[in-house]
């Protein structure tokens, strides 16, 4: 019970994570925490677990199964690729042992003062069409959501669409259809269509999350892996920034 109103289990879980981050004086969630928020909210994420040291990494890797992805976990390193803190497609324990040390050393070189918590061991996702789903609290309009294709489509061509949150499934579908790159998702040159229904669901859920948690200032899922129609979509990264605590 919270102020006499019962909170849903999802809401309680997200509130817990946010409180924890705020209590540590941080404004940006770790990728792992971001994914926990998304997962609690019903958004599919690839399996992601924190390994504090090499032994833990090896043990977790056996559960997650090879091939896998590892990423540096540090509240002080937000651009993990820039710090050379990401390794994709690790196929064996031998490779993992090498990669673990390499990623940690790279991170230390990148920022000697960084508090390194370890690395996250992540389920490797097969190639798919990559899209971006974002959320932002607009000073005039309040909670908004953004959608676009990943990579150059967003960064160079600014091919994105927006809606106010919360939004209907139809609005979410229109958002997907109105970007110029939509044919890439609909399927061109014999490629099967991507799972647009799964994307509609993720966009709607991000909208609901932004609407229910005005303390989330920014949210970025970049990329979301959109598999073939019927095979779903999965958040492969998560960046959540909290607003100034009021």
């Amino acid at each position: 019970m919270f102020l006499g109103v019962s909170m849903t289990a999802e809401k309680r879980k997200v509130t817990e994570i946010i409180n924890l981050v705020q209590n540590e004086g941080r404004r940006e969630l770790l990728e792992l925490e971001g994914k926990q928020v998304l997962a609690a909210w019903g958004i599919p994420v690839n399996r992601t677990e924190l390994a504090k040291n090499l032994e833990e990494a090896v043990r977790i890797a056996r559960e997650v199964h090879y091939p896998l992805v590892i990423k540096i976990a540090s509240p002080n390193i937000l651009h993990k690729s820039e710090a050379k803190g990401v390794k994709v497609g690790i196929a064996s324990e031998l490779e993992l042992r090498q990669a673990f040390n390499e990623v940690v050393n790279n991170a230390r070189a990148y920022n000697p003062n960084a508090n390194i918590l370890g690395v996250t061991i992540q389920e490797y996702l097969p190639p798919a069409r990559e899209v971006v789903v974002g959320g932002l609290q607009d000073p005039s309009f309040g909670a908004t959501v953004m959608f676009g294709l990943g990579g150059v489509w967003v960064e160079v061509l600014k091919d994105v669409s927006f809606r106010l949150a919360p939004l209907s499934a139809e609005d979410a579908r229109e958002m997907i259809q109105e970007i110029k790159g939509y044919p890439v998702l609909a399927g061109t040159r014999g490629a099967p269509p991507a799972d647009v229904d799964a994307l509609v669901d993720i966009i709607q859920k991000v909208g609901q999350l932004m609407h229910e948690f005005p303390e989330i200032a920014e949210l970025d899922i970049n990329p979301v892996f959109a598999f073939q129609s019927g095979k779903g979509a999965v958040a492969a990264d998560a960046r959540i920034v909290l607003g100034e605590k009021k």
Binding site: L136, S140, F141, T144, S161, F162, R163, L164, E170, M175
Partner: protein
């Protein structure tokens, strides 16, 4: 909570406070004052003029000696004269205040806000020179110079005074019919959302144009738009390039029709009053000006529409009655066609299932078409209640004739094919929006 705007638009009595003789920079306010006083000549209620210069005939010189109870005060003073005279004016009861004065200091603005709160005053402004117009009661509380405004069913809301002035100019140019008009200026009191809430209930208003430069509370604005569009179309002019992304998406999501083109705003909005929403995107064309009609395919396609070639059955009916009519995608009636040709052809096109709307493309002075013929074409348009009919008159002199003759009819006139195409696109978007509402 939206304030009750009745005192602003429907005052029984008005006091106008200004100074008719001011020097230097301040002379702007003397000019505004004279214009506003002049514009009150057709007002059906009582007007009391207070001229601090004591020059205007029939005016009072002291602001505190105005009659007891005034619904609306219009204050047209430079900021230096404001501090002394505004409180004096407000010693007597006033419900609403249009403040033309602009460029207030921060301290003055705060003082004003306090005054407004204490006196429970409805404030429009500051910097609201273009003020308020209500054609139903002849209220022209505006510093435009002798504006010529026809009574009609289109309401216009603006923020910026120069955009407001352009709107009044366009209204006159297109011979559009206006119900209400208001310019919020700095928007310290009444804002565009308050006005919208008033206009959605206004029986004189059938469509609303809003020109937006900036938005303080976008969320509330779109929520009110969402309610308004259930009743009447709302067109929003994006008057600042800074408004993009979220702004555009939010307004579309709420069901507003968006444009960046100040030229098309008034005619399209009025067209939406005159003709029904359009169910599909296939447009039949009837013309006596084939050289122009041939361009239509391109413009329609740019607007996401296409030419509807009449069905064989429709074509047969037309050519049986008028063998000289040529059908080549569009329907070419020939330069000698009269109203009877047009009426028959348009009726056939409207009953063709493959046609969602009809664009008439006319030359007037290089044909046998007379003013009366246009009126008869308008009669056919009036009867069409599920498919829009519009008239495009591409020669400028011809358009000048058409906009005069067609002003009071149900046939909207456009001066360019691309504008007609964009208009029909809006009729289609309006239909889609209403369908979406029905499903919910």
């Amino acid at each position: 909570m939206s304030p009750e705007l009745k005192a602003l638009f429907e005052p029984k009595s008005v006091v106008v406070l200004g100074a008719s003789e001011l020097m230097g920079e301040d002379s702007l306010y003397a000019m505004f004052f004279r214009f506003i006083v002049g514009n009150f000549s057709k007002f059906k209620g009582k007007v009391h003029i207070v001229d601090l210069s004591g020059k205007l005939e029939g005016s009072e010189k002291k602001p505190n000696r105005a009659p007891r109870d005034r619904d609306l005060a219009v204050v047209v003073l430079p900021k230096e004269l404001l501090e002394k005279n505004l409180p004096k004016l407000l010693t007597r009861k006033v419900r609403a205040l249009i403040l033309v004065s602009g460029d207030l200091e921060k301290k003055q603005e705060e003082g004003l806000s306090n005054l407004v709160k204490r006196k429970k005053l409805l404030l429009l402004g500051p910097n609201a020179a273009m003020g308020v117009i209500n054609t139903a009661n002849g209220l022209m509380a505006t510093a435009a110079r002798e504006p010529i405004i026809r009574r009609g069913h289109l309401a216009i809301i603006t923020q910026d005074s120069s955009i407001a002035a352009m709107m009044l100019d366009r209204v006159h140019f297109h011979n559009a019919g206006i119900s209400k008009f208001a310019c919020t200026g700095e928007g310290l009191g009444v804002d565009e959302t308050d006005l919208l809430e008033y206009l959605v209930r206004d029986k004189e208003t059938n469509a609303i144009c809003i020109c937006i430069n900036s938005l303080k509370n976008g969320r509330r604005f779109v929520e009110v738009i969402r309610e308004t569009v259930k009743e009447k179309p709302v067109m929003v002019l994006k008057a600042s390039p800074r408004l993009e992304g979220v702004f555009e998406a939010a307004l579309r999501q709420a069901g507003a029709l968006l444009t960046e083109n100040i030229g098309e705003l008034i005619p399209i909005a009025e067209g939406l009053i005159k003709q029904p929403p359009m169910r599909g995107n296939r447009i039949a064309i009837a013309t006596n000006f084939p050289g122009q009609a041939i361009l239509a395919a391109r413009y329609l396609s740019e607007a996401g529409l296409e030419i509807a070639t009449p069905s064989n059955e429709t074509a047969k009916k037309i050519t049986k009655k008028y063998p000289s009519v040529r059908i080549k995608g569009f329907v070419d009636l020939g330069a000698t066609a009269k109203a009877s040709h047009y009426k028959f052809v348009i009726e056939q096109l409207l009953s063709d299932e493959g046609v969602a709307g009809v664009m008439v493309i006319n030359a007037i002075r290089s044909s046998l078409l007379e003013s009366e013929d246009l009126c008869e074409i308008a009669e056919v348009a009036k009867k069409s209640n599920d498919k829009p009919v519009i008239d495009v008159v591409t020669c400028d002199e011809d358009y000048a004739i058409a906009r005069e003759i067609l002003a009071d009819t149900k046939l909207p006139a456009y001066d360019r094919i691309e504008n007609g195409a964009r208009a029909l696109k809006m009729h289609n978007l309006r239909w889609k929006m209403l369908e979406k509402l029905k499903q919910k």
